[in-house]
Symmetry: none
Subunit: 420 residues, 2 copies
């Protein structure tokens, strides 16, 4: 089954917004065995949108459209969908009820625009939207499918995951595409490639399996993709490729597929019934922020200290003035004293600390921008490891928080810290 994706919005044509919806939808459709053959972006312009609808439906078996479904004047997609499918708008009672519930939950008064949102084309199947007021729409015409979804990413994603993907899964398309993403950190892309060696040994040579290296500031993802005609063969090939990679790079792999490092740390800490505190200078709360993004964090994460000033390091963590003066705030000694002090003040099993120079200013020849010490303390001892993540300020924080969480993961799993 072939598919095309149409994304609508002037903000895309002026380059103000990067089209992440397109990539997400492509990935999802791909995952259920559809071949996306073209992606088109148009502005909020009736002629161009109708033209794209017609061309997409003429070429592909399935067209997925996002954007232009909100309540304001520039949202014209619903009107054009009606025009394209020669139908009119009627109130959908289920959607109306969904909107009532959503507005009540958010404490927003009922208003006419909400009623307009509950109008859907007569001949469509309405797709319910738990995350917003604009419903999605599905049309079936001559054995082809047409979907229109809102452009707000999390609303669109909810409908892809809860409706479109299950809908096509239940249809048993005659192609199977499986993906497995193995997430690594603490190792560069090229070293990882060396460790893995000849890719043909991992994925074979018949073209049904592909391996992609996808680097980002948090590490390098390895994505295995298998395209097969039946599920058993596909699963067997995926299993074999994953095992081949793991045999060569296991220690760098912290998670697979949708799991993040903070999810893994959450599991490990809760399973072991250990408690954690954080003491952050340069990361400014990002380590704790990531830890607390995962449900259940309150079971093990008790408190965090954000000690941006020297005085706060002294008062909150008991770092001696003398250490700060002799070694500077960015030093092994201070990182260790922060971790030890956080563990003692919080009376937790483990504490992590981070002190470094995020930049853009504050660097020196001896301690350039990007220098960061990650500290760790538990009842067996306290130590700190130095990294350099020279980058922009935000990516520095991302990398430093990733290094801190990875240090915790490796320590919990007794994996050597400097893995390569």
């Amino acid at each position: 089954m072939t598919a095309e994706i149409i994304t609508i919005g002037d903000e895309l044509l002026i380059g103000q917004v990067i089209n992440t919806n397109q990539a997400y939808i492509a990935e999802q459709l791909n995952g259920i065995g559809m071949f996306v053959e073209r992606m088109t972006t148009t502005g909020d312009n009736a002629r161009d949108i109708l033209d794209a609808f017609g061309a997409g439906m003429a070429r592909a078996d399935c067209v997925v459209v996002t954007g232009g479904l909100g309540p304001t004047h520039d949202d014209i997609t619903k009107k054009l969908v009606c025009e394209y499918f020669a139908t009119d708008l009627v109130v959908n009672e289920n959607v109306l009820e969904d909107i009532r519930v959503l507005l009540a939950k958010r404490n927003i008064a009922w208003r006419q625009s909400a009623y307009d949102q509950a109008m859907v084309p007569r001949s469509c199947t309405a797709i319910r939207n738990p995350n917003g007021t604009a419903p999605g729409m599905m049309f079936e015409q001559g054995g082809k499918y047409f979907f229109s979804l809102p452009g707000v990413p999390y609303e669109m994603r909810g409908m892809m995951e809860n409706f479109i993907v299950p809908f096509f899964r239940s249809k048993n398309l005659d192609a199977v595409v499986l993906h497995r993403t193995l997430k690594t950190t603490g190792v560069g892309e090229s070293i990882l490639a060396e460790k893995i060696g000849d890719v043909a040994d991992v994925i074979g040579t018949d073209g049904t399996v592909t391996l992609a290296f996808l680097p980002n500031p948090l590490g390098t993802k390895l994505r295995i993709t298998v395209r097969e005609t039946n599920i058993d063969a596909a699963e067997e090939k995926l299993r074999r490729a994953e095992a081949a990679i793991r045999s060569k790079a296991e220690k760098y792999i912290y998670a697979s597929d949708d799991h993040d490092l903070e999810d893994i740390v959450n599991q490990l800490m809760r399973t072991r019934a250990l408690t954690l505190a954080t003491a952050e200078s340069c990361t400014g709360g990002m380590i704790a922020d990531r830890i607390t993004n995962v449900p259940g964090a309150s079971e093990f994460f008790l408190r965090g200290f954000i000690t941006y000033s020297n005085l706060s390091k002294m008062e909150m963590l008991g770092v001696p003035l003398e250490l700060l003066e002799r070694h500077g705030a960015v030093s092994r000694e201070v990182a260790e004293a922060m971790a030890r002090g956080a563990r003692e003040a919080a009376r937790t099993d483990i504490a992590l600390s981070a002190t470094g120079i995020a930049g853009p200013s504050g660097g020196s020849a001896e301690k350039p921008v990007g220098t960061v010490w990650i500290g760790y303390s538990d009842p067996e001892g306290t130590f700190a490891v130095k990294f350099n993540f020279a980058d922009d300020r935000f990516r520095f924080k991302q990398r430093a928080s990733q290094a801190a969480l990875e240090l915790l993961r490796r320590r919990l799993l007794k994996i050597e810290l400097q893995a390569h």
Copy 2:
């Protein structure tokens, strides 16, 4: 002058790579007064690529293509460009010399594939590539322009900046496009639309000005776009549209264009030489994390308390046990005690606090998931405001941190807190 962008590559169609090239090219073309009307993505497939070339050149005055110019088997764009323009490949001596220099600089041995890279279509103008071996190509046909650039982002960017943008700048296109984005928060999209009222009063009716509403979890952006024939008229219209919106919705607008709420807070706090502390429960460090994403944060942000447990609220912030027992951790009283306690412990001018139920569990009929109290304390007094951001855990944190920063901004600017 109208333009279309065509990006080529299977990696885009499976959603493995997000199409940042497209947005970059759109932004550049827009900046020199071109109207990008459509963006198309195809795979490494001759039929689809030729079809996209033909459709683009039929519709637009200028087509910019990226991708498929590398040395590997799946790079077929150059061959197809020859086919489309009915020409053949010849060696370009300048390009050949560029490649020799580049390979020498990188210590790479000369090879046949480098010679192939120096072949360009006979009827094109070669665009030199200082960052790689694949040259770009320009064709002029019937008053229209066609460009083919490599897909490697920094190679493509070099050619846009050094060749295409200056080329069109020198032509003095008779169009000017200006944008202004006004960022609002603390007000829903539909209420904002009501406040602004009849859009025609803001943007006029001659079609030269457009207004878009772009909602996201942090608020709604209003984007004004002006398309005019001369810069003075464009600036005047932009100024007028912005003033019209501000006259109706000023208090909701916290920043314009690329500035975030944390940038504005950073400016305000530093200008006033005030200091800040944060006390976070449900936001788990996100408020401090956002504050410290902005350079110069250390000038005003002294410390943060992440008090995930009741005990930490008592020990770190001096919240009385009796308050926690009587009102619960998620209450006006505790939010106020946290803000007051943080300000006293940190000896700052101002402190912000957040306590709430991020979910997915922990809610009750009286205090459902999404309930959050934001506290504020300064020498003039302490208070807390209640919100409900029922949503997923991460977006709850985003919204709650935005509400806290917005509360600080409004307080600093003496804007009423419950603005609607």
